[in-house]
Symmetry: C2
Subunit: 308 residues, 2 copies
């Protein structure tokens, strides 16, 4: 397996796959990051073509693990050196990656992926072979997905300790706008509001402020690279949220009440706490409508915990 980009997510995939017995190597553009990985005994090079030529020779799975803005450049090299390898990614949005993959003519062996794990840290130093343990890993079931590449990608996710949610690209992107990108935006706004209160406010801040602003500690360039490629879906849920907050604001102004936001928010959090994964067991890869059936199951909260 060949991981392109050995930052927090890619580096952790490299570690987790190696721990699971994969023969895995990587490429990292920055020599600082590559050297750090090599110092820990991993086979990471700054030479992209050599990493890809080895992937082509060994028919390895290639994992794109860079922020969206860097994806095109890597795909260009994949097209040149290893166009027939199975290809996946761990980027935070799926439709823009899929569009780029098609643009480079690499769609036939591509299956999108997105492990829902991370920290506010970044870089090789933050990597952790256990990062994906018991996490959810979204894997694409878009129309035209090739069986073999799909099986390879699901196996990687399972071998890294995750469960797999089957999902198509646009539904993934709308979902993560709600549960990953909006949290970033609100955390930034909350951090700002707190700091605008000066040392007194920051000095009084406790758990709710600390938790609510945790992801604002993420490097700004990374936040932009995560959220901005999903601008359409993020805009939709941000508008929805501004309407809800605006209604609470009006109610607060008119009669010092927060209105229905509190009850609906509490009910929503209870729904989240009650939400249980269930195991998809009745769908076989390649049977009639297997992709549609997996997509339907994923929509209803189903996950794969073993290869079907």
């Amino acid at each position: 397996m060949c991981v392109l980009g050995t930052g927090l997510i890619g580096g952790s995939v490299l570690r987790a796959a190696t721990a699971a017995g994969y023969r895995a190597w990587g490429f990292n553009r920055s020599s600082v990051g590559a050297r750090a990985a090599r110092a820990d005994g991993f086979d990471v090079t700054e030479d992209l073509s050599s990493a890809l030529n080895r992937a082509a020779r060994t028919e390895a799975l290639i994992v794109l693990a860079v922020p969206m803005p860097a994806v095109g450049q890597l795909l260009s090299a994949v097209r040149t050196h290893a166009p027939n390898c199975a290809l996946t990614d761990v980027v935070s949005v799926k439709a823009p990656v899929a569009a780029a993959v098609r643009e480079y003519g690499l769609g036939a062996n591509y299956v999108g992926g997105h492990p829902m794990a991370g920290t506010a840290e970044s870089g090789w130093a933050a990597t952790d072979p256990e990062l994906f343990r018991d996490a959810v890993w979204a894997v694409g079931v878009d129309a035209g997905t090739a069986r073999q590449a799909w099986t390879t990608v699901v196996r990687l996710a399972l071998d890294c300790g995750s469960v797999v949610v089957p999902v198509v690209a646009d539904e993934h992107d709308r979902a993560v706008a709600r549960i990953s990108h909006l949290p970033h935006v609100l955390a930034e706004a909350l951090a700002r509001a707190g700091a605008n209160g000066g040392e007194l406010a920051l000095g009084l801040a406790a758990g709710s402020f600390r938790d609510g602003t945790r992801v604002a500690a993420t490097a700004p360039d990374l936040v932009r690279a995560i959220c901005e490629p999903n601008s359409v879906a993020l805009l939709e849920v941000l508008d929805e949220t501004l309407r809800a907050l605006g209604a609470a604001r009006e109610s607060l102004r008119a009669n010092a009440h927060l209105g229905e936001l509190v009850d609906s928010g509490h009910g929503a959090r209870e729904e989240f706490d009650r939400n249980r994964r269930w195991e998809i067991t009745d769908i076989r890869v390649g049977e009639d409508n297997w992709l549609e059936r997996l997509r339907e199951a994923g929509r209803r909260g189903g996950v794969l915990t073993r290869l079907p």
Copy 2:
């Protein structure tokens, strides 16, 4: 010491003070809560007048530990049974409590307090004698504060393991609107946005959504009781936040960029992480302008870690 209300905060004060060697007893309106406390060996009654008569006899400190809407009723009983006791509170806002205390003619021995600690749980079952360990406890330094009552309240906070931030009521309320009440409002809105994405979105949700919605698990009545008495300050910071989010929304719509929100939010969170308490050591209780000097020190991030 007499604690009126033995829910999460009041009950934890009772436990912490008892552990620190105080002779402490309590009142709880609900007999379920009172029985639970008694079953754990604490002296908690449903008889408010007997608890207060004992406080009057022993010149005990009285701690109001109920949500804002229940404060008036308790003050009425304090006026009847124990009007000369030192009086403090652990309510989430300070100016409305101070106004109610004055209304009942109990201002002379009152010093406001607010330990910045809590969980999404509530009731006696959630109490913890260590809840205030290394927490910040805001203590009033409003004009006219009596030395003796102030010293008694600061000693309680320190004996419970906290450090003390000296602050006047209106500045406290504006600060907590930013770092405690706004986090509640944003958490409710985020939880709602997530649940509106259905089982797929909730199933993909990971750490950032969990942390960002944690306080939405708080009982709705408690959230309202915490936030709504501070509606003026909350409205001000909510408007400020809606403007910041609105600007990000416009930028996202116009050019798929989040604008300056990300950098300013990240800088704000860094400011929070860098923020260090420093110890106030040069102010003596009762010296000229001691209240003003403590207020100034609190504004600049100073805390008391021992009785001055």
